[in-house]
Symmetry: C2
Subunit: 486 residues, 2 copies
């Protein structure tokens, strides 16, 4: 629009500028289209993914090594999610309205008629994740929720699965053509440099950014979004260490089952989950030690697969070496000799420290992206709470054996709620259900906007802005669709 | 907490550090107290204001010159608002939950039990406004909504009404004592420098900021909030030019009534309203000219009162001189000779320009805080939309005579929704009803978080963060209060 400092014709980024121009043009049509247009598109995309599932999964496996079982599941989840958003559009939930009838008389009780409607923000720049080539990629949750809100999307694919991204985008483009929608509704920019990313985030016609990736990359782009003449919302999901507390009660029936369950979660997808449990808090007693012993053994038996990209494989070795080098950190499970070669799948690792060291040393709160965890041994209940407080922000916190209503467990639950977007009382944090109640996004540094979620149906709210219509004719209210909630 | 770069014992700001420490300590108690405790506090504060209304209004008038009629109304509104938030706490709306039952089977359809609850963010730093000594001040909407959310508040009073602020805070402290709540629930810091403000916003134990004031001051503090090691939400309401479109249809029954209505809104409170209509868009034809003529006459007959502070009085003269000096701007109503003396109330001013000049010159989009407006004459419907698009962000946009369902009016309504937080089809934008459907906050630069509101009951959401509880025991869900919404 009118942002004179931005050079929209800069040659190296002409492809980005063209994509944004198409998205902006499409926004005028798609943003005011009836809900039925949006839900039909979401359902069409789900159908297209499923129709080509076999070929897409094979290509994804080739590019990511994640395995066909996992990838088939992820594709099914992505289609389920697209249809779930379609249902929320159809039920009117995506554009719900609040209606206040006029009240005669003087203020404060007297008032005009007011209806609160929701306005799509405009074109969304969507940065795909490496570790979910379907569910957090071209047609993943960010795209689905933006489309449900009535926003067009400019997809920046991840370099870890370029062919798959192109193939999925081509499918999306075909669905748009079939449904008579402009190609700019889901556009695609294939430039991978940091400069290109900053250019996209800084473009005056981009209205919001959704990002899943590393803390470093995410924060750099968050700064770019804030440095614009007109700053825009930046929804960054930046990873997290996901503490899991094992109370003495959780070990009452033995250590083997919980240790095996936890080892499987730590190594799932070779540890390349943003919800991977990276911090295990156990009591410094005989049961605690038996548990850590069993966990190390169970981890050593886990088979991992190749990591997503060679830089991530190298990054994992750097991260574990950095943790191992910290004072008062003991290696509980080392890599077998020779297994750290970059060509091999990553060997699981387990480290241990004490509460005081963990709290004093910020280096111990850095994520190891891969199949590794740090055990913190604590003396008492109060120490557990201090360890959680030191974490500051995490996507999840898991409390095993905290089911009884005791003052200690109340304090523990409150401490977990203070630092996490999701608090589990059973099971493992890997695996994020797509539903209305989901919250995937924790206090900083887990996400840049901790009051929003990137999984689950309230994710739509990220791309909508309330507008109060005062004394509006009925046709204006109707033009905004939605259902009246109050 | 653990933010080592912040010097918490810096002597010049010891009073601020002490206030934040009290607020943080009180947060642990107040943030987990039942809803009944919060609503009783809100009602107690409303009662205390009303009990001392006569004395408070007299003191406010002395400090602000706003007049007892207006100030009595504002006090009534502030009490009404406190009780309104109390009602939302009592009905459970402030802490509504979303409940998803477990579904057996494999994902994506199978899932654990999930309940989405809302967690108070923590202590809120609240910067009072100059122009609403009750409703946007110590016990105004920001404080009321933060308290309803379960957050403690550290009030930074406005230097325009220091005695009133102290008096109101003393009342609040008495209510807290009466109700057995810690004084840190509503604390007070009385240091007015820019450095003190930055110190407060940067304090590691402050969790959010609410600010009403100038663009310059607000953006500086917004930057400070983002520069923290752990950035926090900054809810800044920074003023706006509030376009008002007068279509030919609006003048079908003559120009005198609409001109008088608009003149009264422009000069209300000597123009010191963030919703004051500062941009009037009229057709460049005979009726349009008659309307501008009538508006200038009506404005010249308005009596204004002294402005809030001497710097605001000087600022107004600078702002109108800056507009008058722009090319292609005509003065339609000048100040009578001698009336620009700083000791006198401000004389109303009216300027005129054309659409092309308005769109080309950003200086014409700067707010004149005081009784002044700029008329933009347009040739056709398309020009109106271009003028609105150039505004980019405004708290309100008003469309007079756009009631009929025509393609032109549809385009006009859509253009207004794109740039404003509230769109009016009748009446004037000054006066903001406190209700559920209200939205007070427009696209940047009107507010720093355009997806939130600082007036109306959804203002509570600014201070809450969703947390998904997975497979939680019932006592954990109950401890979070609220009602189940889905």
């Amino acid at each position: 629009m009118n942002q004179t400092s931005f050079n929209v014709t800069s040659a190296p980024f002409a492809a980005i500028d063209n994509a944004v121009a198409r998205a902006d043009e499409a926004q005028a049509i798609y943003g005011t289209a009836p809900g039925a247009v949006r839900s039909r598109l979401l359902r069409g995309l789900a159908d297209a993914l499923e129709r080509d599932a076999a070929g897409l999964v094979a290509l994804a496996d080739e590019e990511t090594s994640l395995g066909t079982a996992r990838l088939n599941g992820e594709l099914a989840r992505t289609a389920f999610q697209l249809r779930g958003f379609a249902e929320r559009v159809e039920s009117g939930l995506a554009h719900r309205q609040i209606d206040d009838a006029a009240v005669p008389g003087a203020p404060p009780a007297g008032r005009p008629q007011l209806t609160r409607v929701l306005e799509p923000l405009g074109p969304v720049a969507m940065f795909s994740a490496s570790n979910f080539p379907f569910a957090f990629s071209v047609l993943g949750g960010d795209t689905a929720s933006a489309l449900a809100a009535g926003c067009t999307v400019i997809v920046k694919p991840h370099s870890g699965h370029p062919e798959l991204s192109r193939r999925v985008h081509a499918l999306a483009a075909a669905v748009l053509r079939e449904q008579g929608l402009p190609e700019g509704v889901i556009d695609f920019v294939d430039q991978a440099s940091r400069e290109a990313a900053v250019h996209l985030v800084s473009h005056p016609d981009v209205s919001a950014v959704a990002f899943t990736g590393s803390w470093q990359g995410g924060v750099a782009l968050w700064r770019a979004a804030n440095a614009r003449p007109r700053p825009i919302p930046f929804y960054g999901e930046l990873g997290s260490i996901n503490p899991l507390v094992v109370t003495p009660h959780a070990l009452a029936e033995g250590v083997d089952v919980p240790a095996a369950t936890l080892a499987a979660s730590i190594t799932m997808g070779s540890g390349q989950f943003c919800t991977s449990p990276g911090l295990i808090v156990v009591r410094d007693d005989a049961d605690g030690e038996r548990f850590v012993e069993a966990l190390a053994q169970s981890l050593s038996a886990q088979k991992t697969h190749a990591m997503l990209t060679p830089p991530m494989r190298t990054g994992f070795e750097h991260a574990v070496a950095h943790i191992a080098a910290q004072p008062r950190v003991h290696v509980r499970l080392a890599a077998p000799p020779g297994s750290d070669a970059a060509a091999l799948p990553p060997a699981p690792r387990l480290f241990e420290t004490d509460a005081t060291s963990f709290i004093a040393n910020p280096a111990l709160r850095e994520e190891m992206f891969g199949p590794a965890a740090l055990v913190v041994k604590v003396r008492d209940e109060a120490s557990v709470i201090d360890v959680l407080a030191a974490v500051e922000g995490s996507l999840t916190a898991t409390l095993w054996g905290a089911d009884d209503d005791t003052p200690g467990n109340r304090a523990l639950a409150a401490a977990a709620q203070r630092i996490a977007g999701r608090v589990l009382f059973r099971g493992v944090p890997t695996g994020v259900a797509v539903c209305d109640a989901q919250q995937h996004g924790g206090p900083w540094p887990a996400s840049t906007q901790p009051q929003t979620t990137s999984v689950g149906y309230t994710a739509i709210e990220r791309f909508l802005r309330p507008v109060a219509l005062q004394d509006a004719p009925q046709w204006v209210i109707d033009a905004n669709g939605g259902i009246v909630a109050v």
